[in-house]
């Protein structure tokens, strides 16, 4: 007697089998529990949206600096916005060829500094930021001393200032009315000699703010100039607005220097504070600054994540949203595959449909996403049908398997190119998407089909072929539910549930639906008796 491997008794007692099952159930339960609790945590605690439709606004801000350099070291430093209680900066880009870029924060101001050892000719520097409306509370930064430092003024300037200040002060009760009176005085049609002396002929908002800050400092009140842009619909060339911020009653209050109003529109993005210029540059000629504001729509879920970036919960640091946008779009599709695969498991193991290639229908379904369903099915049938005819012809040439497969692959690619050109000429642009079919998979399908054709006949081939197409169509329909796409992408932990379901199906030992038909003859005997 031959006994391979010595011991040939592999009978497994029933208890071992049930233990295996218990292990599986525990694993599936654990996976589901983790998946569901993560899912609930994200929806309830982190407010991840369950629906994909909600959209919100973000603004893309761009600054374009052009200047000429003259073969000297160039240094350009520009104020850039920072997170405020109204807006959060979710993304920033600094684009400049050959320049070193440095972002520094000094006294609460953010600055980007570009520098290069040598530059000649026209230079371009771009700054881009994506800004999101947040509205949240940020601790107010109090000025260090109770009273503002007195500005250094002398002569007529000091006298004019003192005269305006005492005049205004007389008609005011508190800081608020003082500022209001001051701005009214500065904006008066006949402001008087004192004001003209300080403001000059051109009464720009910026100048008014500067003078107001100076006067308030003289009165010991903390104030500063603020510069920003309004985020409106679309602005190719956005204008900077300047306003006054005064510290009163432990709060910074904004004043519009032209109207004296105690607030500024809340869609104004604060860019920088203080009297410094926005851009300071060394060895630069003909500097031009253009600022643009673009509004774009973004899905609410990304918004939630971007809010999350500000909150910085640990979970989000490792979410799919931390990936570059292009990679994200890859995963948007890739994460649908598990859904299709689970469905295919059900189709094959519970229903009992036979398909060519285990996962071929899922891959075909993915290309249906690009071609759209009817076109996809049509192109697939044309492609596989023609390929099959050519394969049956190649059969006569008696080729070896690998060269024959290669030949079919070449034919398939040729066919795809031909179909693209043909449909393009006919004005059927959808036909171009035939290029997205997985060609190697199609080649294998054709080869497999022709073997089944040879061995089991045309009927069986068509049956399995139809099974594959039906599976692909259903997989496509399931994977194209936008809700499903949203759910798996925002809540990838749901994959754990899919995994648990797949594992459980792996131990499904009941009849397949089509087996009921197959074995039906067996039940009939009983009925006869």
């Amino acid at each position: 007697m031959v006994m391979p491997g010595g011991d040939w008794r592999f009978a497994m007692p029933g208890s071992v089998r049930s233990m295996k099952n218990r292990h599986l159930y525990l694993l599936a339960a654990a996976l589901s529990a983790v998946g569901i609790s993560l899912f609930l945590y994200k929806t309830i605690a982190l407010d991840f949206p369950l629906l994909p439709e909600v959209r919100a606004h973000v603004w893309n801000i761009g600054v374009h600096l052009t200047f000429e350099a003259d073969n000297k070291p160039v240094k350009v430093s520009m104020h850039i916005p920072r997170n405020s209680n109204r807006f959060a900066i979710v993304d920033e880009n600094f684009i400049s060829r050959g320049y070193g870029v440095n972002v520094a924060t000094e006294e609460g101001q953010r600055k980007a500094v570009w520098s290069i050892r040598r530059a000649t000719g026209l230079q371009n520097i771009y700054y881009r930021a994506t800004v999101l409306r947040v509205d949240r509370d940020i601790a107010i930064k109090k000025p260090p001393q109770a009273e503002a430092a007195k500005p250094v003024l002398a002569g007529v300037q000091l006298e004019a200032s003192n005269s305006i200040l005492s005049e205004v002060r007389e008609k005011s009760a508190d800081t608020g009315s003082l500022v209001a009176g001051l701005l009214k005085r500065l904006n008066a049609p006949q402001p008087g000699d004192d004001v003209v002396l300080l403001l000059g002929k051109k009464k720009s908002a910026r100048k008014k703010v500067e003078i107001a800050v100076q006067l308030l400092a003289l009165a010991g009140i903390h104030a500063h100039a603020v510069h920003g842009v309004r985020l409106e619909e679309q602005r190719r060339a956005a204008q900077f607005r300047h306003w006054l911020e005064v510290f009163e009653n432990d709060k910074w209050i904004a004043y519009d220097p032209d109207t004296g109003a105690r607030e500024i529109p809340d869609d104004t993005l604060t860019w920088w504070r203080g009297m410094a210029d926005m851009v300071e540059a060394v060895n630069v000629q003909r500097l031009q600054i253009s600022v643009s504001v673009l509004r774009s729509e973004q899905a609410a879920l990304e918004l939630a994540v971007e809010k999350g970036i500000i909150k910085k919960p640990f979970l989000l640091e490792f979410s799919l949203f931390s990936l570059p946008v292009q990679t994200q779009s890859v995963y948007r599709v890739a994460l649908l595959v598990p859904i299709g695969v689970l469905f295919l498991v059900i189709l094959r193991n519970v229903i009992g449909i036979r398909t060519f290639g285990t996962f071929m229908p899922v891959l075909i379904a993915l290309s249906f996403r690009e071609t759209q369903l009817l076109w996809g099915v049509f192109l697939f049938i044309v492609l596989v049908g023609t390929g099959l005819l050519i394969r049956l012809y190649l059969e006569r040439l008696k080729l070896l398997v690998v060269p024959r497969l290669a030949a079919i692959l070449i034919v398939v690619i040729g066919l795809m190119a031909f179909l693209s050109v043909l449909t393009h000429k006919l004005g059927l642009e959808r036909g171009l998407s035939v290029a997205l079919f997985p060609m190697v998979i199609i080649t294998m399908t054709i080869e497999r089909m022709s073997i089944v054709w040879d061995e089991l006949g045309a009927f069986e081939t068509l049956k399995q072929g139809a099974g594959s197409i039906i599976a692909a169509v259903i997989a496509y329909l399931i994977m194209s539910i936008s809700y499903a796409e949203h759910l798996v992408f925002v809540f990838p932990e749901l994959l754990l549930l899919l995994l648990a379901a797949t594992l459980l199906l792996g131990r499904y030992s009941g009849y397949r639906l089509l087996e009921l038909r197959r074995f039906k003859a067996l039940t009939e005997k009983r009925n006869d008796v």
Partner: protein, 313 residues
């Protein structure tokens, strides 16, 4: 639909999922599969154990050997070419005789040496093997089947499939090729499946394309009540295949040669389920019975006795 499901469960019909999950996966160790998936290995194993198999004329392992085939085959008027790792009877070429330089297939079609060589090349490059792995082509003795079967098969090789579970033959059927099956013995290709009473070796009802038939559709001879000669020997050989391979759940395919008696054609680690239709009985009750008693069924004689006693029709 649920009614059918309930009835099938009552009969104890084994479904594909259950066969895989509870029988082949549990009782058939993966590492032992090559012993049965590769017919060459099965043949060597059987010869070593002294079990008769169709004589091997030659093995073609590489394409350059194809040219030598004609020389080797000169002395044999008929032979069979099959892939060593084929499945489901695919890729088997039966040469029944010669006509001058040409080979004659069972269906009378003449093939030249080049066509036979092409077939061998296809086999070697893995066209018929599981997973497309490179394969070997076996050239072996063409079984001169017992006249008993001559009357009830059309071309091809009628064979006897025995399901052996833990060394106990549990169910058996004869597979009779028809014109429709093109000489192949696969039920879904149109062969007749006739259940066999394990106790006596007599064919029971026969099923053709899911319908009960009394006669062979091509020869008109009755297919039920045919008594298979050497039945005991056949059961013993089948039962021994458990020790031979170590696989708990197998299908043993045997042929009855008119001179050499029962020969093992091949073993199958994932035997099909149609045998239940041919026997009009479910496998599950029999498998469960074996699971209960197999610890005391050590000797082959005991197992065959147990089988004949328990599973008679």
């Amino acid at each position: 639909m649920f009614r059918i499901k309930k009835q099938l469960s009552e009969i104890g019909v084994l479904g594909l999922n259950r066969r895989n999950a509870e029988y082949t996966l549990q009782y058939n160790q993966r590492r032992l599969y090559p012993l049965v998936d590769d017919k060459l290995q099965t043949k060597k194993l059987a010869l070593k154990a002294g079990i008769a198999v169709p004589e091997l004329y030659g093995v073609v392992e590489a394409e350059h050997q194809v040219r030598q085939v004609a020389g080797v085959l000169k002395s044999y008027p008929d032979f069979v070419i099959k892939p060593s790792r084929g499945s489901g009877g695919e890729g088997i070429l039966v040469i029944a005789g010669r006509s001058k330089d040409l080979y004659r297939g069972v269906d009378g079609v003449l093939l030249d040496a080049e066509e036979v060589g092409y077939h061998i090349c296809n086999i070697i490059s893995g066209m018929y093997s599981l997973g497309g792995q490179p394969d070997k082509a076996l050239i072996e003795y063409r079984v001169q089947f017992d006249p008993l079967f001559g009357a009830i098969s059309y071309q091809g090789v009628p064979d006897i499939r025995v399901i052996v579970f833990l060394g106990v033959p549990v169910m058996s059927m004869a597979r009779l090729p028809t014109r429709m099956s093109g000489g192949k013995a696969n039920l879904h290709q149109g062969a007749i499946g006739a259940g066999i009473d394990i106790a006596t070796g007599t064919t029971l009802t026969a099923v053709w394309r899911n319908k009960i038939v009394a006669e062979h559709p091509d020869t008109g001879n009755p297919v039920t009540g045919v008594r298979i000669s050497n039945w005991d020997t056949l059961l013993h050989i089948a039962a021994r295949c458990y020790e031979l391979t170590g696989l708990g759940y197998i299908g043993v395919d045997l042929v009855l040669d008119k001179d050499k008696g029962p020969l093992i054609l091949e073993l199958n680690a994932r035997p099909g389920l149609s045998i239940q239709i041919a026997n009009r009985a479910g496998l599950l009750p029999r498998l469960k019975k074996v699971e209960q008693h197999h610890t005391v069924l050590q000797r082959i004689d005991d197992r065959v006795f147990f089988s004949k006693e328990q599973f008679s029709a």
